[in-house]
């Protein structure tokens, strides 16, 4: 304890004394004290070049006594008087010192901010009404808070390149750029793809992608997120929706086992964009482009919107009760050993729990999931492209998901397996099942968000909600329990997969009494030892460590080293 105490320094911020650990940047100390210091170039995950000068504050230290003079006496609280420096310092790259004073208000600081804002706005185009960044633009916000409110600039603004395609997913407006260099540092330090830089000088300085190269790496769109102005915009989101109209929902990415934390922006049930949400144990502030853009299929024409039953040689729409009754009739004619269930490692823990109950209720002979193992990209994309393989292992009790698929194929081939329930998977497309093989079954039921070749062969096709249309929990590659939150309603008669499984159990004579995914989570906490004592609320927006997997996320490990070396704040 005593060691910890000596590492804390007294710092006075706007007249109030606080204690912070030695080495804290002044800007972070102010943030922790609830005082905002405006800034553009500073980003806690990147190095601090201190080039925007927006975070200038007034700083003071105890006076150094003249030779022979008595040092100043501390006051009753042990604080020395502060001798204020006549010039301002940047808060982003300087660390606190003992008995330091910081003033974020007053004529010096305010004058600095006004000056910086006036110079930044001198050449900035006034195209806020058509700028995608409007509403979430630091330049706009600080103009309101720290700007002069009028311009003395009467000259012509400098013309610079506009609408430049710097990469396949990114467009650059150089006139809007304020040269903070966040994007340059991101591509240098995080994405290891240093193609951006500043060419020319002074008011002619432009952000440039090296001739013949492009900003095309799979993390390029993070530069759009960290751009404090509208210089870098996303081709996908450009001009689609004003940001202030959108509703933000915190959830997680389901494209791989990392489970990057995300914010999904929607308006009237339509998803417009997905951005990474800071979680230093999972995805830092970043996410891969391939994952953030993988949402347009949710509005696909191929979405299943109502249950379908096979009638002769074609599918016809049916009500849920008809589809479920038909399924129950077919399933009850089969022995448990003749039924196999193939669930999905894209399902939530809650869905897997109720799937496990279905398996037991039907006494099904086989259960498995479809594995998706590819390459780890060395950044944030896990080799396992299923988001919840750890949930499958814990809840369905499968030690090696996918290892039963051959046995199931063989069982169907030999006629031992006559009924197959496929939950949220497309066996023909993703698991190498042939249509011919599935044709041998007496009964095939599938749930999936989209029409697909497996559903084409099914006796009963049920529209299962996709990741954005359901709530639940998943366990990521490092063993972290995280919450998936419902973002939009599913189209038509779509149901969440746990509801479908519940209704199927009920239709086949089982009980239910479950009305929400959170009820299932309570049961998880009671029935699966790893979950015991955890409540839905406790998981929060950032999740919590649940099990030890021994796996790590490469980008996060590198970031920890950079934080430990003091290169970045973190």
């Amino acid at each position: 304890m005593s060691e910890e105490k000596t590492d804390l320094l007294d710092v006075q911020i706007d007249g109030v004394w606080h204690k912070f650990p030695k080495g804290t940047r002044m800007i972070e100390a102010c943030k922790q004290a609830g005082v905002e210091v405006p800034h553009y170039c500073y980003h806690p995950k990147l190095t601090s070049p201190g080039n925007c000068r927006m975070c200038l504050v007034e700083m003071g230290m105890p006076p150094r006594p003249a030779p022979g003079a008595e040092p100043a006496e501390p006051d009753e609280d042990g604080h020395l008087p502060i001798s204020w420096m006549p010039r301002p310092v940047i808060a982003c790259a300087n660390t606190i010192g003992p008995n330091m004073g910081i003033k974020t208000t007053g004529p010096l600081t305010e004058g600095c901010r006004e000056g910086v804002m006036e110079l930044l706005l001198a050449n900035h185009p006034l195209d806020c009404p058509i700028c995608d960044q409007a509403g979430e633009c630091s330049l706009q916000e600080f103009s309101v808070e720290h700007g002069k409110g009028e311009s003395r600039f009467r000259e012509q603004k400098v013309k610079k390149p506009k609408n430049v395609e710097v990469g396949p997913r990114i467009r650059l407006d150089d006139e809007r750029c304020i040269m903070c260099s966040r994007c340059v540092r991101f591509t240098d330090e995080i994405a290891d793809d240093p193609v951006l830089g500043f060419t020319d000088r002074g008011s002619h300085t432009v952000l440039t992608v090296y001739p013949g190269r492009e900003l095309a790496n799979n993390y390029s769109m993070n530069t759009v997120d960290i751009c404090p102005v509208g210089a870098l915009t996303s081709n996908d989101f450009r001009f689609q929706m004003r940001v202030w109209f959108m509703k933000e929902t915190n959830t997680i990415d389901v494209n791989c086992a990392t489970g990057a934390n995300t914010t999904v922006f929607t308006r009237q049930g339509k998803i417009y964009r997905i951005t990474p949400r800071q979680n230093n144990d999972v995805n830092s502030d970043w996410m891969p482009d391939s994952h953030r853009l993988n949402f347009h299929w949710i509005e696909s024409e191929a979405r299943l919107t109502e249950p379908l039953v096979l009638d002769g040689d074609h599918h016809r729409p049916a009500t849920w009760s008809e589809a479920l009754t038909k399924s129950a009739d077919k399933l009850s004619a089969l022995k448990g050993s003749e039924i196999a269930v193939i669930a999905s490692a894209r399902m939530t823990n809650e869905e897997l729990l109720i799937t496990n109950r279905l398996v037991k209720h039907l006494d099904a002979g086989h259960v498995d999931t479809v594995p998706r193992i590819e390459e780890n990209d060395g950044y944030l994309i896990a080799a396992d492209r299923n988001p919840n393989t750890n949930g499958v292992k814990l809840i369905l009790g499968l030690d090696d998901p996918g290892s039963q698929l051959d046995a199931i194929r063989e069982g169907i081939e030999q006629g031992r397996i006559k009924g197959l329930i496929v939950l949220q998977e497309n066996l023909v497309g993703d698991a190498g099942f042939s249509g011919e093989l599935l044709g041998k079954l007496d009964f095939l039921l599938t749930t999936y968000p989209l029409a697909n070749p497996t559903a084409d062969l099914a006796d009963v096709v049920l529209p299962g909600a996709c990741w954005a249309e359901k709530s639940g929990t998943m366990i990521n590659v490092t063993g972290r329990l995280q919450r998936l939150n419902k973002v939009v309603d599913g189209p038509g008669a779509t149901l969440e997969p746990w509801e479908i499984v519940r209704d199927l159990i009920q239709a086949t004579g089982g009980g239910n009494g479950i009305y929400a995914a959170t009820d299932l989570f309570k049961q998880l906490a009671e029935q699966v030892s790893e979950f015991s004592g955890i409540s839905w609320e406790q998981i929060g927006d950032l999740g919590l460590p649940l099990i030890e997997t021994g796996e790590t996320i490469p980008l996060i490990e590198r970031e920890k080293e950079r934080i430990a070396s003091g290169l970045v704040v973190g």
Binding site: P194, G197, T199, R201, H204, V209, Y210, P211
Partner: protein, 189 residues
Amino acid sequence: MTDKKPKNSASSHASFLLTTFYSKKMSFEVPSDLEKEIDERITHYPVSKRSAVLPVLHALQHHFGFLSEDAVEWTAAKLELEPIKVLEVVTFYPGFRQEAPGKYHIRVCRTLSCAMAGSYELMESICEKTGIDRSGVTHHNPIAVSPDGKFSIEFAECLASCGSGPVCLVEDDFHEAVSDVDSLLSQYP
């Protein structure tokens, strides 16, 4: 548009294409003695090779007359930098040229003392006598070249001889209080 490139007398667009063609087809070769000199200069910066970027670029420009895309990439490879880091330096300093100059490159001072002593008139006079057309000069390419490729010219900032304006540099020769343009040019055959 008039010619900016003396060696290709076609339109500037065609000369651009030609330059592009040659820079793609012809390999950029640094003579071995120049490379030796550059390697020696790099040894002056033991902490970080990156610091040698200015001396390396100066050596290349001195030899080739300007810094082509190939020169930028050669420097980047030599110093183990990304090409964009070298391009940033090349574009930052007006002393570095990205376009080929003439056989003799002239810099006319236009800072206050020289401007008052007649540097604009000097510029006009040189252009008239060498046939240089500066109408195509831009911020990004401040150099204009005579049709015969013998002279190129640009304005420069203070050349540190404010008492004897107007002054100019022809290659590395310093000329003060220039009044007789014909005799100035006649020194360069």
